[in-house]
């Protein structure tokens, strides 16, 4: 197998007596969708925070394309190619959808210290941003302020933003949340094609989507990975059935 793009090794994080992350190791390989599931309070959010850098781990190592990023600040990790989407917050709610994506293109180009040229006349930003919006199906909503988009549209915008960065690995935090069944279906199809660009670490509650999309699944319970494997393996794992799927049969 090829080298992993994103590699998490023996990560630990405690809050007082609570072990929120207890020796987690996960690898994300090129071209795959690796789903991370677990009941509420399993430590998924804490893990995501550590991967993207908003929380610092107590011990362990996180690498991106072979480079240790465990101690880098958030922005630096993003520049190295970690593309994260958010559950609820928008990038800049007052800005239009287009300007949000333009900001991401600008970040991807690594050039925010330009003071005089108006961005709206900058074709290199506009055209690329528009292309990303169209790709996620938001082309017709480009001029709507991000805060006025519907719940589902905000998810789509998040993905357009991630697309605009030079992403090596996607970290998608519940992209299906708040989507209707129709929207989920469209997004599922879209994520299928997205893995061609970069592998996806997918944190998701929607089991139908997870089983339809994931190449591999890791199950997190009380801060530990209790099982990791293919969809079929996880479906049939007795520990998972008991601890998580609530299947007492």
């Amino acid at each position: 197998m090829a080298d992993p793009i994103l590699s998490i090794r023996d990560l630990h994080k405690s809050f007082g007596a609570l072990k929120a992350t207890d020796g987690v190791s996960i690898d994300l390989y090129p071209g795959e969708i690796h789903a991370l599931i677990g009941p509420n309070g399993a430590g998924k959010s804490t893990l995501i925070h550590q991967i993207c850098g908003t929380l610092r781990q107590n011990s362990g190592k996180i690498s991106l394309v072979g480079r240790d990023i465990s101690h880098l600040p958030v922005a630096e990790r993003a520049r190295l190619g970690l593309g994260r989407t958010f559950q609820i917050s928008s990038l800049a709610g007052e800005f239009s959808a287009l300007r949000n994506v333009m900001l991401a293109v600008q970040a991807g180009q690594g050039s925010s210290f330009r003071f005089f040229k108006p961005v709206m006349q900058d074709a290199s930003l506009r055209d690329e941003a528009m292309a990303k919006l169209e790709r996620v199906g938001l082309g017709g909503r480009a001029d709507v302020p991000a805060s006025e988009l519907s719940h589902g549209e905000k998810r789509q915008l998040e993905i357009a933003i991630a697309l605009a960065l030079n992403v090596k690995a996607f970290l998608l935090d519940e992209p299906m949340a708040g989507m209707g069944p129709e929207g989920s279906k469209v997004l599922t199809g879209f994520l299928h094609s997205l893995r061609q660009e970069a592998p996806i670490l997918l944190v998701e509650h929607d089991m139908d989507a997870v089983f339809a999309l994931a190449d591999r699944i890791s199950v997190l319970v009380y801060g530990r990975v209790i099982a990791s494997g293919t969809v079929a393996e996880i479906r049939n794992d007795p520990a998972v059935r008991q601890a998580y799927l609530g299947d007492h049969a």
């Binding site: 630096e76 800005f95 333009m102 600008q106």
Partner: protein, 323 residues
């Protein structure tokens, strides 16, 4: 043309026209009022880059305003007395050089204050900027070389190449010109890549970091640019009054600069101009009626904050729209 654009142009034209009319009617004092409006508007425009675009509520911009004023006062005092300063520099009476020195000094001070203050946010940031400005204020009071508590007079207003700056209308035009440059600069910054990043950092700091833009350098740059612009206004203010004193550095001054922005309307290009105009006119009219005019200013300000958050431009042009 958008309604706000029309209002902006009308405001700019009015401010330019009034001194000419006053000149024709022999009302020199009105020219001075208009000059005051232009200078205060410039100072508030500087502050607005940090406060309006970046959401950085600096309660210490009097430090930069005052530093600009003291640069003008000190350089001209040395040029006058012929007593050399550090490195044998003999001071200057040229506004252009004064401005350059003011920009440099305020930029360095802004960098120093910004590096420490921007590690914090919210209420902490407000109080820390206030405290640092107070530090500069007390330094100016306790350092007797340049007048200490009594301040420093500028014997003759500094010079501008090819213009007799002692004539009120000429000096007004200099100030107005600098104000327009400041406004254009601030509009360019707002529309630029830097401005987009700065405004986004205000709206959602963590989210901006997660796309790879570090908030700190963006904020620090904005803070320093903001300090520089406010310092130029300070230098002009000293030249207008031909006097500089610690009161330019006082926290009331910092408060007034914020008030100008809010009275005019936050997040508006011409907000500071409308706010400064309203402020100076109120000061003049109410001040003519009663010594206690600040009592009424307080009531008006309170009313604006509680009930009319859009300020003057908000009342005239409706809600802010972002592109």
């Amino acid at each position: 043309m958008k309604r706000e654009t029309i209002i902006n142009l009308v405001l700019a034209a009015l401010l330019l026209a009034v001194p000419f009319i006053a000149q024709a009617m022999g009302q020199t004092f009105t020219i001075t009022l208009a000059t005051r409006i232009a200078i205060l508007a410039l100072a508030a425009t500087g502050l607005n880059i940090a406060l309006g675009l970046g959401g950085l509520v600096s309660f210490g911009h009097a430090a930069f305003f005052g530093v600009g004023g003291y640069v003008a006062g000190i350089l001209s005092a040395h040029a006058f007395s012929g007593e050399p300063m550090v490195l044998g520099f003999e001071g200057t009476r040229q506004m252009l050089i004064v401005w350059l020195v003011a920009i440099t000094a305020a930029g360095l001070l802004g960098l120093l204050i910004g590096v420490i203050s921007l590690r914090t946010s919210g209420v902490y940031f407000i109080m820390i900027t206030l405290a640092f400005a107070q530090m500069v204020y007390y330094f100016a009071i306790s350092w007797p070389a340049y007048g200490g508590e009594d301040g420093l007079s500028i014997a003759v207003r500094n010079q501008f190449p090819g213009v007799n700056s002692m004539r009120p209308l000429n000096f007004f035009l200099i100030c107005y010109g600098v104000l327009i440059v400041g406004l254009v600069l601030s509009a360019l910054i707002k529309a630029s890549r830097f401005g987009a990043a700065l405004q986004a950092v205000r709206q959602n700091e963590v989210r901006v970091a997660s796309i790879g833009i570090s908030p700190m350098p963006i904020r620090l740059t904005a803070f320093v640019i903001s300090a520089m612009l406010t310092a130029v206004a300070g230098a002009l203010f000293a030249d207008l009054n031909r006097f500089v004193s610690p009161s330019m550095l006082s926290w009331h001054m910092s408060g007034e600069l914020i008030v100008l922005i809010i009275l005019g309307g936050t997040g508006r290009l011409m907000g500071p101009v409308a706010g400064a105009a309203l402020y100076v006119i109120l000061e003049y009219l109410l001040g003519g009626l009663t010594e206690r005019w600040q009592f009424f200013l307080g009531l008006i300000l309170l009313g604006t904050v509680l009930f009319a958050r859009g300020g003057v431009i908000g009342l005239l042009a409706g809600k802010v729209r972002h592109g």
